[in-house]
């Protein structure tokens, strides 16, 4: 109860920061939107022609958007890590630590704020996708599943980003390490190309890294096609990464603050 009230207070604090300094929201949305425009307009036809034979007759924008949605969630990781690190560097967090409140509420507030921001940016990017011609075939059940997976993956990536932010010593450090989540993993997955079209070494990595089953599941739900074991893998990765990120963050936050 205490923890929930305090976390809600901290969430309001973070939302106030976001509303007052919306540059964070814009920065988070910009990368996936640019990728969307770049790949649909610039490379779209070429890629569609190249892989069209293997994947059948399809619009590349329909293939692209589901992966870009995950990239949108992941692009929030950098902001989350930077925010948590700069917050830790400010004296206010030390004040919170000496107050009779739930210890982790300041972190939980950040996580809830980031997840809300992620959901908002996903909706915006989805809107841009629609404007570019994305036409999903999902029914109500599929949409509910998409929302559920989006929220779960948001929690997973956000908790990992929080841990990376806490582990970093400086704000600069906190802006670098989450690039693995926001940039590296989306590129070596099926975001832009199907597995068969990837070079063999990368294909092996892409097949077994967590983003691929998540993207394949989102894709299957939104535009149809087989999901198979990817559904369970996606949910499993989501839960596993959330738990790992949470435990890691908690351990890091419980440490004595650095001098």
């Amino acid at each position: 109860m205490t923890a929930m009230t305090d976390s809600a207070t901290m969430l309001r604090r973070n939302l106030l920061h976001l509303v007052r300094y919306p540059s964070l929201i814009i920065a988070t949305i910009a990368v996936p939107v640019i990728m969307l425009l770049l790949f649909s307009y610039l490379f779209g036809d070429a890629i569609a022609a190249g892989i069209g034979g293997a994947a059948g007759d399809f619009d590349y924008i329909d293939y692209l958007v589901p992966g870009i949605l995950l990239m949108t969630i992941a692009s929030g990781a950098v902001q989350t890590a930077v925010q948590i690190r700069s917050d830790m560097n400010e004296g206010i967090v030390n004040r919170f630590r000496t107050m009779p409140i739930s210890r982790t509420s300041v972190v939980t507030g950040h996580v809830l704020g980031s997840v809300l921001l992620n959901v908002t940016t996903v909706v915006v990017v989805l809107g841009v996708g629609f404007a570019l011609g994305f036409r999903p075939t999902a029914g109500i059940v599929e949409w509910v599943a998409v929302i559920g997976l989006t929220v779960l993956v948001s929690f997973a990536i956000t908790w990992l980003a929080v841990a990376l932010g806490l582990a970093a010593k400086t704000v600069e450090g906190a802006s670098n390490t989450p690039m693995v989540l926001s940039f590296f993993l989306p590129f070596v997955s099926t975001t832009f190309l199907p597995l068969e079209a990837l070079p063999s070494g990368i294909r092996w990595f892409a097949e077994y890294q967590p983003y691929t089953p998540i993207i394949q599941t989102l894709r299957g739900l939104l535009i149809g096609g087989p999901i198979g074991h990817n559904g369970w893998l996606a949910a499993g990765w989501g839960v596993l990464l959330t738990v790992l990120g949470y435990l890691w963050s908690k351990k890091l936050f419980r440490r004595d603050p650095q001098k």
């Binding site: 309001r12 206010i92 004040r95 009779p100 001098k259």
Partner: protein, 315 residues
């Protein structure tokens, strides 16, 4: 008299570096206790441990009647902390900062609004209350910081170097605020590197050096132990200096700079007596400087070595 803060055998090391090496403290409720020492003496570490921010390696500590090791939450309910590094949310306005504290202390909405307004008034921040704290001056930030500490009406307040880096006017304003708090009955644990500040505010002073308490007592008691007061007489001529040295007897000569150092507490009467003796002997002095005991003297007297940090402010 009940004990607000009791510390026995407090130890803390960071790696190989021993910061606090067996500290014992006793602060009665409703008094001001000052921990005096130069940068790096361990003052901030002591405050961080007593305020539950970091953990001690050894020692028993009670604050506000609660054992710090077994009931940190109880301690947190009793205390407020204002450190030398601002603990305000710079992105929020002054008023929002105060109300954030109120929400965390579970104040009812209306009472929270009222208390924030009262504190803004009391700390001369009414105008600034609507502006983000990032735009505040050092003195304003420190006042907001302390106001935030008071939202929870703490019974024990830790002030870690509350005036370091403030201009003289802000410093005196802060002293007035602290005196008002004391009048209200709270216990204050104050760290400072200024002897004058401890002198102005504290009932008892402990001098911390390299993790040890080297002296403890009232300001008057400590000053009696410091023989640092002296007057320096500057001469233009060696013969005048020698004559003066002969007449004054108890003086040390520095032939290179042509100065004579004479013990003197700097009071009007003592100075007049000194000048009269020089006049009687018709000795011309070029100039004279009065040196009252400062932190360096305290340290030299109590520890036999100078403060490590030569930048320490000796005002």
């Amino acid at each position: 008299m009940t004990t607000a803060i009791g510390v026995t055998g407090l130890r803390k090391s960071f790696g190989e570096h021993v910061v606090l090496d067996g500290i014992d403290l006793h602060v009665p409720t409703g008094t001001v206790f000052s921990l005096l020492g130069p940068n790096g003496a361990g003052k901030t570490t002591a405050v961080q441990i007593l305020s539950t921010l970091i953990t001690a390696d050894a020692g028993t500590i009670t604050v506000g009647g609660h054992d710090l090791a077994t009931n940190p939450h109880g301690v947190r309910e009793a205390i407020g902390v204002t450190g030398q590094f601002s603990a305000v949310d710079r992105l929020l306005t002054g008023e929002e900062n105060l109300r954030l504290m109120g929400e965390l202390y579970r104040l009812p909405r209306e009472e929270n609004r009222r208390r924030a307004a009262t504190l803004l008034e009391q700390f001369d921040l009414v105008e600034a209350g609507k502006k983000p704290a990032a735009t505040y001056s050092g003195g304003m930030t420190r006042r907001l910081d302390l106001a935030m500490t008071l939202v929870g009406e703490p019974r024990v307040i830790f002030l870690d170097e509350p005036t370091t880096g403030l201009d003289p006017r802000s410093r005196h304003a802060m002293w007035d605020i602290i005196r008002e708090l004391v009048a209200g009955g709270v216990t204050i644990f104050l760290t400072t590197q200024y002897l004058e500040e401890a002198d102005q505010l504290a009932d008892r002073i402990a001098v911390l050096d390299h993790g040890h308490i080297v002296a403890e007592g009232t300001a008057a008691e400590l000053k009696r132990r410091i023989p640092g007061g002296h007057v320096q007489l500057h001469f233009t001529d060696v013969r005048e200096l020698d004559t003066a040295a002969r007449i004054l007897g108890n003086a040390s000569r520095d032939l290179e700079s042509l100065t004579l150092t004479v013990p003197n507490d700097g009071s009007r009467r003592a100075l007049k007596a000194l000048l009269d003796r020089l006049d009687d002997a018709s000795i011309e002095t070029e100039s004279l400087t009065v040196h009252t005991p400062d932190l360096d003297d305290v340290f030299f007297a109590l520890t036999g070595h100078k403060t490590d940090d030569q930048k320490v402010v000796t005002r």
